[in-house]
């Protein structure tokens, strides 16, 4: 069965390489090791979303039972999205769990994840804090998501206000990523963030 997983991944790899999306630079895939069990995907942030202009790296682990069971996918690039953990990068997407079908491929998985970035499902969240912000303070969510895209995925929008607040926390000895996480969680309220960090 492992042979089947490898031979299929090889075919899918070729399929991605031949696909139109690779020409448009919207998805990309590369090998991590020679055994074809681990790959690295990359998706471009979809246009008209806070992720536009960013490149998001994904870790793809192919189980021995592939394609009868889904590949294990998580974001390596940090991202602020209701259905993706801002801490671990774990993804909440039905096709990577119960709704997986054996005819799906790496290409369709990457395209589905791209679609997930464009259409979040805050009612079925992976990251409850992000989902709450998405539903309650959508403007702040957009700002935070754009800031994260800029900080981690090379997005174009810079937010000097956010950067200065993070710098203030870093001056207090807080790690940059922790500072960004707490400030994002506390809706960029520096006092609450400080309270949360040092209480």
């Amino acid at each position: 069965m492992a042979n089947m997983a490898v031979s299929r991944i090889k075919r899918e790899f070729k399929e991605v390489m031949r696909s139109e999306e690779i020409v448009q630079c919207s998805i990309k895939i590369e090998l991590v090791n020679d055994s074809w069990t681990e790959l690295r995907g990359e998706i471009a942030g979809p246009p008209d979303t806070p992720y536009e202009g960013g490149k998001f790296i994904l870790e793809i682990k192919v189980p021995e039972t592939y394609p009868f069971n889904p590949p294990k996918v998580r974001f390596i690039t940090r991202i602020w999205h209701p259905n993706i953990s801002s801490v671990t990068g774990a993804i909440c997407l039905d096709i990577l769990k119960d709704n997986w079908a054996a005819a799906m491929t790496l290409r369709t998985v990457l395209l589905s994840l791209q679609a997930l970035l464009a259409a979040a499902e805050p009612d079925d969240p992976q990251d409850a804090v992000v989902a709450y912000q998405f539903k309650d303070k959508y403007d702040l969510f957009l700002l935070t998501a754009k800031h994260w895209t800029n900080a981690y995925a090379g997005g174009p929008h810079t937010f000097p206000d956010c950067d200065s607040k993070i710098q203030r926390l870093r001056d207090m000895g807080v790690d940059e990523h922790d500072a960004r996480g707490v400030l994002s969680k506390e809706n960029w309220n520096l006092e609450k963030a400080t309270e949360c960090l040092f209480s």
């Binding site: 089947m4 031979s7 299929r8 075919r11 899918e12 039972t65 394609p67 009868f68 069971n69 119960d98 079908a101 054996a102 005819a103 799906m104 491929t105």
Partner: protein, 241 residues
């Protein structure tokens, strides 16, 4: 006018049609043809008649290229790929072996589909369109030249067949037995029920009657007459007594 020629070639006893390889059989047919136009026509015919695999040596068959669909690109590799992918299993992405097609029209190798159905016994859905699929709702595909016409569904699943043993016969009224091959049961009861008991015999079926002319047949005739008179006697006795 080309069809009879095709038929004649196919009927030639020295052709390797009964052989194992599809490629060989195609070569044999093409060797008999000098006319390239006929060559093209016949290879087209062969393809239409459901060859199980498309591993046709395209380089050696000039007529085949006209028949190919030019969908993706200009290079021959692309054309070859687009043509072959029509017959790829939707699970292993290889050319379908022991092919079956679902009611929703999607092609699979039976081993692949079987494995998929085993992986999710509670949700038997088509891997492509998520329509319902089941073992009994797929159609096996047989190519014209496939030597083994066995249903692929019977081969691959190591699915044990059910074992059903007949229950032991319940000991009861043995009926009237007269040696081998003759069996008769006869019920006696109050008037209207008497007919029912003698005409409705449940349980073991009667053995077939002996052939006409044999001594056993004569014996059976005599005995049946005897019992018929006896039955009339009993009924008469019941009515008039």
């Amino acid at each position: 006018m080309e069809m009879p020629q095709l038929a004649a070639i196919l009927e030639q006893p020295n052709s390797t049609y009964s052989g194992s390889s599809n490629v060989n059989s195609t070569d044999t047919v093409t060797e008999h043809l000098n006319n390239e136009k006929h060559n093209e026509h016949i290879t087209t015919q062969l393809r239409q008649f459901g060859r199980p695999t498309l591993s046709v040596p395209t380089d050696s068959e000039p007529g085949l290229s006209a028949d190919k669909k030019d969908t993706t690109g200009n290079s021959s590799n692309d054309k070859e790929h687009s043509d072959e992918s029509l017959y790829e299993c939707n699970i292993c992405l290889d050319t379908a072996k022991d092919a079956v097609v679902s009611m929703c029209g999607h092609l699979f190798c039976w081993p692949c589909l079987h494995q998929w159905l085993l992986t999710r016994p509670s949700r038997k859905l088509c891997p492509v369109c998520k329509a319902a699929v089941d073992r009994d709702k797929v159609i096996p595909l047989y190519g014209r030249n496939s030597t083994r016409q066995e249903d692929p569904r019977n081969k691959v699943p190591p699915r044990p067949a059910g074992h059903r043993t007949e229950p032991e016969p319940v000991p009861g009224f043995p009926g009237f037995g007269f040696g081998d091959g003759f069996h008769m049961s006869f019920g006696i009861g109050a008037f209207p029920f008497g007919f029912i008991t003698s005409s409705l015999n449940f349980g073991e079926p009667r053995p077939p009657a002996a052939n006409r002319g044999t001594t056993q047949y004569e014996d059976e005739q005599t005995l049946s007459k005897l019992f018929l008179y006896l039955a009339f006697l009993c009924i008469g006795w019941l009515l008039f007594a």
